[in-house]
C-alpha cells in the first residue's frame, strides 16, 4: 500500500552559470527517467528568474514511496560525480523533509532510513502518535483511541495494522496498572540496593530519583504518580536508616565515651611525663650552671631564662627548682623562724670564717627574736632544731666536718672521759675547742674574741663561736658556764650524736665564775 512521495530537487549553487544549470536539470530528468518504474512519471520543471531570463533550476515530481530508495541512490551517485549544491525536499502526507548539500554522503542516512521502511512509513507516524498518547496518561483513553483511528485513516493504514501498532506503543506494560506495578517494583529494588550499600562503604552519590524519573518517563507513567511511589519508598527507607543510625550512634557514643576517657587519661599521663622531663632537664641545667658558683653568672642566668621560656616552666617553678638544686649543691637553708641563711651560706662558701661567725650570731639572735639580747640558759632552748641543724649543716659542709655544732658536741663527748669535777671539764672543753689557753700564773687563759683563729687551721669545733651568748667580746671571749651547759644540753637534745648518752646536768652546777 504505497503512497506517493512528492520530490523537489533544485540546484542552488550560485557559481553555476544559467546554461549549465539548465543542462544539469535536463540530465537529472534523463537519469531519473531511466530508473525502473519512472518512465511514466511527469516531471515538472522549477523555474526562477536569473539574469533577466527565466530558467529551469530544478524539477519536481511524484513517485511511489517504494521507489524512494532507488531514487535516493541515483541522486547520491550524481552528487558523487558532480558535487553541486542542491536542495532536496521529500514530502509525504503532512511531512516534508528538506536537505541542502553538495556531498553525496549526506544522502546516505536517508537511504538507510528509506530501506528500513520507516522513513515516510505511515506505521511510524501512527506509532509515534500512539506512544505519545500512551505516555501522557499511561494508557489510551477512548478519545485518544478515536484520534488514533482518524490518523489511521489519514495515513491509510488498515485496522489490523493499527491494532498491532497500538499494542506496540503500550508494550511491554500496556495498562497503567502494569506500569504502576513495574515502577513500584523498580523503586523497591533501587531502595533495597541502597540499603545494601549502607552496609558497605558509603557511596558518593545515592540519588536514585533521576534514574527513576527517567524510567517513569520511559514507561509513560505520569510524573506525580511516580513521585508518590518514590516518596513512599523513600520515607520507609529514611525511617529505617534513622532507626539504624540511632542504634549505631548510641553504640558509637558509648564506645566513644570509653575510648575518650582512656585517651584523655593517656594524654594526661603523657603531658605529665613531658612536664616532668622538662623539669628534669631544667634541673640538670641548673646543676650545670651552679656547679662553680652558688649564683649562676649573668650568661648562665640568660641560658636558664631562655630554657625556662622554651620549656614553658613558670617563674615560680623555676625559682623553686633553682633553690632545690642550690640546696642540694650547697646545703639547705631551712628555717623555722623565717631567717634567711643565704648570706651565711655565701660567706661560708667563700671561706670567710670571721664574717660567717658574725653572721651566725645575727641569725641566731634574730631567730630567737628577743630584742637581740644575748642567749641565756633560759632562752637557749627556744632555738629550733631546724635552724640549729641548718647552721650546723652549712658550717660542717664548708669546713669538711671540722666546724659546726656537731663537731663541738664531739669534742664535748671526748671531754667526758676526763675524770674531774664539772668545772674542770668545762674549762677543758673550752681549751679543747681553742677558745681558751691553759691558765698560767699571770693569766686565766681567756683571750679576746678577735684573737680566735678564723681559719681551717683552728682546732676542731673552734667555730662557730658562741659569741651569741656573750655580753662582751673584745676584752675577752668568755662564756658563762651555766649558759655553756645549757647550750650543750640543747644541742644534744636537738641533734643527738650517735651512740652517745648525755649525762644529766648537775643541778648544783656553779652558776657564776668570779
Amino acid at each position: 500500500m504505497a503512497q506517493d512521495i512528492q520530490f523537489s530537487i533544485r540546484f542552488v549553487d550560485p557559481q553555476y552559470k544559467s546554461d549549465d544549470v539548465v543542462t544539469e536539470v535536463h540530465y537529472l530528468i534523463e537519469d531519473l527517467r531511466d530508473l525502473n518504474g519512472m518512465s511514466q512519471t511527469r516531471f515538472e520543471p522549477i523555474s526562477e528568474i536569473r539574469d533577466v531570463a527565466e530558467i529551469r533550476v530544478g524539477v519536481t515530481f511524484a513517485a511511489p514511496s517504494d521507489l524512494l530508495g532507488p531514487i535516493l541512490r541515483r541522486l547520491r551517485d550524481r552528487l558523487y560525480y558532480n558535487p553541486i549544491a542542491t536542495a532536496f525536499c521529500f514530502k509525504m502526507a503532512d511531512i516534508m523533509l528538506c536537505i541542502e548539500t553538495h556531498q553525496a554522503d549526506d544522502l546516505l542516512g536517508f537511504i538507510a532510513a528509506a530501506q528500513s521502511g520507516l522513513l515516510f512509513a505511515p506505521e511510524r507516524d501512527y506509532l509515534a502518535e500512539a506512544e505519545t498518547y500512551s505516555r501522557t496518561q499511561g494508557e489510551l483513553s477512548p478519545t485518544e483511541l478515536d484520534n488514533l483511528n482518524l490518523l489511521r485513516q489519514r495515513l491509510g493504514l488498515t485496522a489490523e495494522q493499527a491494532e498491532v501498532l497500538n499494542a506496540r506503543a503500550a508494550s511491554p506494560y500496556p495498562t497503567k496498572a502494569d506500569k504502576h506495578r513495574h515502577f513500584e517494583d523498580m523503586t523497591a529494588a533501587e531502595f533495597s540496593r541502597l540499603r545494601a550499600m549502607d552496609e558497605g562503604p558509603p557511596f558518593a552519590s545515592k540519588d536514585i530519583w533521576p534514574v527513576l524519573q527517567e524510567l517513569a518517563e520511559n514507561l509513560g507513567l505520569p510524573f506525580l504518580e511516580a513521585e508518590a511511589i518514590y516518596q513512599t519508598h523513600q520515607q520507609r527507607y529514611h525511617d529505617d536508616t534513622k532507626l539504624k543510625t540511632e542504634q549505631t550512634t548510641a553504640k558509637t557514643a558509648e564506645d566513644g565515651r570509653l575510648s575518650a576517657e582512656a585517651k584523655a587519661e593517656a594524654e594526661r599521663q603523657k603531658q605529665a611525663q613531658q612536664t616532668q622531663e622538662r623539669l628534669n632537664q631544667y634541673r640538670d641545667l641548673c646543676r650545670q650552671t651552679m656547679t662553680h658558683a652558688i649564683y649562676p653568672s649573668e650568661f648562665d642566668q640568660g641560658r636558664l631564662d631562655q630554657a625556662r621560656r622554651l620549656w614553658g616552666i613558670s617563674a615560680e617553678q623555676a625559682l623553686q627548682l633553682e633553690t632545690e638544686v642550690r640546696d642540694e649543691l650547697y646545703g639547705g637553708v631551712a628555717s623555722a623562724t623565717g631567717v634567711d641563711y643565704n648570706r651565711l651560706r655565701n660567706l661560708l662558701h667563700q671561706q670567710a670564717w670571721h664574717e660567717a661567725d658574725m653572721e651566725t650570731e645575727v641569725l641566731i639572735l634574730n631567730a630567737l627574736n628577743l630584742d637581740m639580747q644575748p642567749v641565756t640558759a633560759a632562752t637557749m632552748e627556744r632555738l629550733s632544731t631546724v635552724d640549729l641543724t641548718t647552721i650546723d649543716g652549712l658550717w660542717n659542709r664548708y669546713s669538711k666536718g671540722r666546724f659546726g655544732f656537731k663537731a663541738q658536741q664531739q669534742v664535748y663527748r671526748g671531754q667526758q672521759q676526763i675524770q674531774a669535777d664539772d668545772r674542770q671539764r668545762w674549762l677543758a672543753f673550752e681549751e679543747a675547742l681553742g677558745w681558751r689557753e691553759a691558765p698560767s700564773l699571770f693569766s686565766r687563759g681567756y683571750k679576746p674574741y678577735h684573737d680566735l683563729t678564723f681559719s681551717l687551721e683552728a682546732p676542731p669545733g673552734h667555730l662557730p663561736t658562741w659569741r651569741w651568748c656573750c655580753p662582751s667580746l673584745s676584752d675577752r671571749y668568755k662564756i658563762n658556764l651555766e649558759i655553756m651547759a645549757a647550750v650543750i644540753h640543747h644541742l644534744n637534745t636537738c641533734m643527738p650524736l650517735e651512740t652517745v648518752t648525755v649525762p644529766a646536768l648537775d643541778t648544783a652546777f656553779p652558776t657564776q665564775i668570779a
Binding site: 639580747q373 644575748p374 662582751s472 673584745s474
Partner: protein, 203 residues
C-alpha cells in the same frame, strides 16, 4: 622592749631629754640618760625576779645588764643626742670611734691598765690630763667637758661612770664611780656590742 605600762613615762622622760639637749644642758641630759638606762635595767631585773632569778638590790650597768638593754631605748636616746649635737655626741658617735679602733688597732686587753689605756678613752677625751699627757685613769665625772668643744663621743658618759662603790675601789677609784679608775673594757665593749647588735635588729 619596754612594757607598754612604762611607755607613757618613757615618752615624758624622752621629751624632757630632748628639752635639756636643745637647751644644751649637757650635764643634766647626761644624768637623765643614765637614769633612763638604769630604769631599764631595774625593769629587766624585775622581770627576771618574776622568773625566779635572784635580783640585785640596786641596778647597775654591768656587762650583763648592758647586753640586755632595750634596743628601742638606746636608739631613742641616741637619736636625741645626735640631733641636738649634730652627730657630735651620742652612742652612735662612740660606736663609730670604737668600731673603727677595733678594726685598725690590735689592742691586747691584758694591757688595759693605767699606763696603756684603750685608745677609745683617749679619743673621746675621758682620760685625765696630767701635764698635758694622758694617763690611764679616767677623769672624775665633774672634770668632764659639758660643751660642744669636747672631743667627739665625749658624751653621754655617766652611764659608764656609775659603778658600784666596791667595784670603784677595786679599780683604784675613791668611791667616785669610774672617775680616777682605769677604764673597764668589758663594760665599754658590752655597750658597744649591744649597740652594734641593735643595728642588726631584724637583719
Amino acid at each position: 622592749m619596754l612594757a607598754s605600762a612604762t611607755n607613757s613615762g618613757l615618752e615624758e622622760d624622752l621629751s624632757e631629754l630632748s628639752l635639756l639637749l636643745n637647751e644644751e644642758a649637757w650635764e643634766e641630759a647626761d644624768r637623765l640618760t643614765a637614769d633612763l638606762l638604769l630604769d631599764a635595767v631595774a625593769y629587766n631585773q624585775n622581770a627576771m625576779r618574776l622568773q625566779g632569778v635572784s635580783p640585785r638590790q640596786r641596778p647597775y650597768l654591768t656587762t650583763e645588764a648592758v647586753a640586755a638593754l632595750p634596743c628601742q631605748l638606746l636608739q631613742a636616746i641616741d637619736d636625741r643626742w645626735q640631733r641636738a649635737s649634730g652627730g657630735h655626741f651620742g652612742f652612735s658617735a662612740q660606736l663609730q670611734i670604737y668600731a673603727n679602733l677595733l678594726e685598725t688597732v690590735d689592742f691586747d686587753p691584758d694591757l688595759n691598765n693605767w699606763s696603756t689605756p684603750h685608745p677609745f678613752f683617749e679619743d673621746v677625751g675621758w682620760l685625765m690630763l696630767v701635764a698635758l699627757r694622758p694617763v690611764g685613769f679616767l677623769r672624775f665625772y665633774n672634770w668632764l667637758e659639758f660643751d660642744l668643744d669636747a672631743p667627739r663621743g665625749h658624751l653621754p658618759a655617766l652611764w659608764y661612770w656609775k659603778i658600784p662603790r666596791m667595784v670603784s675601789l677595786q679599780m683604784g677609784g675613791f668611791l667616785t664611780g669610774q672617775g680616777g679608775c682605769f677604764g673597764d673594757l668589758a663594760r665599754l665593749d658590752a655597750m658597744m656590742l649591744r649597740l652594734s647588735r641593735c643595728h642588726q635588729l631584724g637583719g
